[in-house]
């Protein structure tokens, strides 16, 4: 597995999303901590991968930041700061009611896992794309809306004639593309993608990923890409954060994480994927003698990249 050397767009150093000391707990009896004191920075235009096994809290973190948590889950500490292109900063937990609603999708949009059920089964695609505009851009005329929806679909590689279709008439890959189109409707600055390709077969997955990277290059939004598939992140992300039991155990840029993982858990994760090279049976026979459980108890957050606030020059990751 090699990190691609295809030219990556220039990634800014200025943060677009700062997550500080963020904790989410399920307030049942006894309380279950799902996310614990997470510090994460998303820089403008970068793809940040968030990796970890099922149940480690990565989705909960995303839902917490975007204020989509349902009781009994609640944010118990920390904050998420959004730095807009226009220059101002917004504390996401301070938004309420109408402000929160207006903020949603316009600045931060989401693409969910399993688009099987993420689209309303009784409405047409057009209706679901258009209601984003009728809600957030009421001044648009009907004709403009129609045209824009057609454009959006074309941009993600779906024929605009599919606007009149219902979700059940589309294939999985197409539905996911529609979700992406919908997410990009208002040209958000951050796109949070929660396992967007997990339910798709590998060929379709590759196409979707290419779309995402292409669109990112075109439009310049930042992406938080959540998945358990670490090799996938190694391919497309600029930086990767590894999560375990609600905490970030390691954060580094993709190449460094692959070539020089610091934390034992990261090493274990990397070793958990069979390689396309090497002898047959290597994977199954590999021992974890050198990954003793005591080491895994460490939850020290290791940060390997430069502190953005220190103002280092823009990096070119190649």
């Amino acid at each position: 597995m090699t990190a691609t050397t295809a030219g990556r767009p220039v990634v800014g150093t200025h943060p677009v999303l700062e997550i500080e000391d963020f904790s989410v707990t399920y307030l049942v009896d006894p309380p279950v901590p799902a996310v614990q004191h997470v510090d994460l920075v998303l820089r403008r235009g970068e793809i940040l991968g968030l990796a970890g096994e099922s149940g480690c809290g990565k989705s909960t973190l995303a839902y917490g930041v975007t204020r989509l948590l349902k009781p009994p889950a609640a944010i118990t500490s920390g904050r998420a700061l959004f730095h807009s292109r226009e220059g101002y900063a917004v504390d996401l937990s301070s938004l309420h009611g109408e402000d929160l609603r207006a903020f949603r999708w316009d600045k931060v949009a989401m693409v969910f896992q399993g688009a099987m059920n993420s689209l309303n089964p009784v409405l047409t695609i057009r209706s679901q794309l258009e209601d984003v505009f009728t809600t957030h851009r009421p001044q648009m005329s009907r004709a403009e809306r129609r045209a824009r929806c057609g454009e959006l679909l074309e941009r993600v590689g779906v024929d605009a004639a599919r606007l009149g279709a219902y979700p059940h008439e589309l294939s999985g890959g197409m539905r996911q593309r529609v979700m992406i189109a919908m997410a990009l409707a208002l040209e958000p600055q951050v796109l949070v993608m929660d396992e967007p390709t997990t339910a798709l077969d590998v060929v379709v997955q590759r196409e979707i990923l290419r779309e995402i990277t292409r669109l990112r290059a075109e439009l310049g939004f930042a992406v938080v890409f959540i998945t358990h598939d670490l090799p996938l992140l190694l391919e497309i992300s600029d930086r990767i954060a590894v999560m375990r039991a609600g905490r970030i155990v390691e954060q580094a840029d993709a190449v460094t994480l692959y070539t020089d993982p610091q934390h034992p858990y990261t090493r274990r994760l990397l070793a958990s994927f069979p390689s396309l090279t090497g002898d047959r049976g290597d994977f199954v026979r590999a021992s974890d003698a050198d990954l003793a459980d005591e080491l895994l108890e460490e939850t020290v957050q290791v940060v390997a990249d430069d502190d953005p606030a220190a103002g280092t020059s823009e990096e070119e990751t190649a």
């Binding site: 969910f112 209601d131 984003v132």
Partner: protein
């Protein structure tokens, strides 16, 4: 289009089954309904051979004619719209009796059921939307009401609102002492409304709980679906989410339940009309049973079945419009 044809086809089969049942039942039951009917008719006047033949065609005798040819004869008579002569309402024909009583039933029962459904589903939608809110307090009350047998509730309300506090009239569809029959005057119409309110109220009160509970449960289920999270994340207005995303999906089972309940509505109408002496088709059926008027009974059964099947077909088609997946599945 295929969807419509398939549905219509099913109901045609069901209708055929009902007709056949109607044909077979008098012939399978012990006793000789033909003789009973003829003797009843004879008390009203001389019975012509034509009448005798008609009754035999309808109810069957132990003549040499095979079952099959009797069946064909029966269907032919029906195709001509000949339902026979009524005994209880002699000399009126069955068709005439039905024509006079059916509108009352459709008006009262149909209207009340629709009101009950809309009200119940609406309340259920609000109860499900705001979980843990005060509307939830209506739920145990609705549960209790649901278990109360309809006719007892009707009796109770009649007692309370007709006798104890005489707010409403005790019986009939309109004021029989003032009006000889239906007339197109405002006074008549208002009398109808006045007399119809209490029966309608009993129907609504007894069935609204069921719709409310069903819809509420479905709303709770639907609100946990993924596409609701998408809708929220999109920052849509709560109104849009509630109606186009949540309710429209949640109402689907209630709608199919509504179709099933139409059969019960008809059953309920018989009881309603019995309690309130309402001049509808249910009253006619009961009168027919009590006077062994088999012709009227068969005619009423047929018309009731036809109405129920027709209403079911309409609801099925409506369901197909609201939920595009059903059209694809068929």
């Amino acid at each position: 289009m295929r969807f419509v044809l398939r549905k219509a086809g099913f109901y045609v089969v069901a209708l055929w089954a009902a007709l056949t049942l109607n044909f077979l039942i008098p012939r399978l039951m012990p006793g000789n309904p033909v003789d009973i009917m003829l003797s009843k008719l004879a008390t009203k006047g001389p019975v012509t051979p034509a009448t005798r033949d008609a009754i035999e065609a309808m109810l069957g005798t132990d003549t040499d004619a095979s079952l099959w040819s009797q069946y064909v004869g029966y269907l032919q008579a029906l195709a001509h719209g000949d339902l026979g002569t009524s005994v209880a309402f002699f000399p009126a024909g069955v068709g005439q009796v039905i024509g006079q009583t059916l509108p009352w039933t459709v008006g009262l029962i149909g209207l009340s059921t629709v009101v009950s459904f809309v009200l119940g589903v609406g309340l259920g939608m609000f109860a499900g939307w705001r979980r843990g809110s005060f509307v939830d307090n209506l739920v145990p009350a609705a549960t209790m009401l649901q278990s109360v047998p309809y006719f007892w509730l009707a009796l109770l309300l009649l007692f309370l609102l007709g006798s104890v506090w005489p707010v409403f009239p005790l019986s009939h569809g309109y004021d029989v002492y003032t009006f000889a029959g239906p007339e197109p005057t405002w006074a008549f119409v208002s009398s109808v409304i006045y007399h119809g309110t209490l029966p309608a109220l009993t129907i609504v009160v007894s069935s609204v709980g069921g719709w409310m509970l069903g819809m509420r449960n479905m709303m709770v289920s639907t609100l946990a679906e993924d596409y609701l999270v998408t809708a929220e994340a999109k920052g849509l207005r709560p109104r849009r989410i509630r109606f186009a995303y949540a309710a429209r999906n949640a109402v689907l089972p209630s709608l199919s339940g509504f179709a099933i309940s139409l059969g019960f509505v008809v059953a309920g109408s018989i009881v309603t009309e019995a309690v309130f002496s309402y001049p509808g088709i249910g009253s006619a059926l009961l009168m027919a049973v009590n006077s062994n008027d088999y012709a009227l009974m068969q005619g009423v059964f047929l018309v009731i079945t036809l109405s129920v099947l027709g209403a079911n077909l309409l609801v099925d088609l409506l369901y197909g419009v609201i939920d595009p997946r059903t059209r694809a599945r068929s």
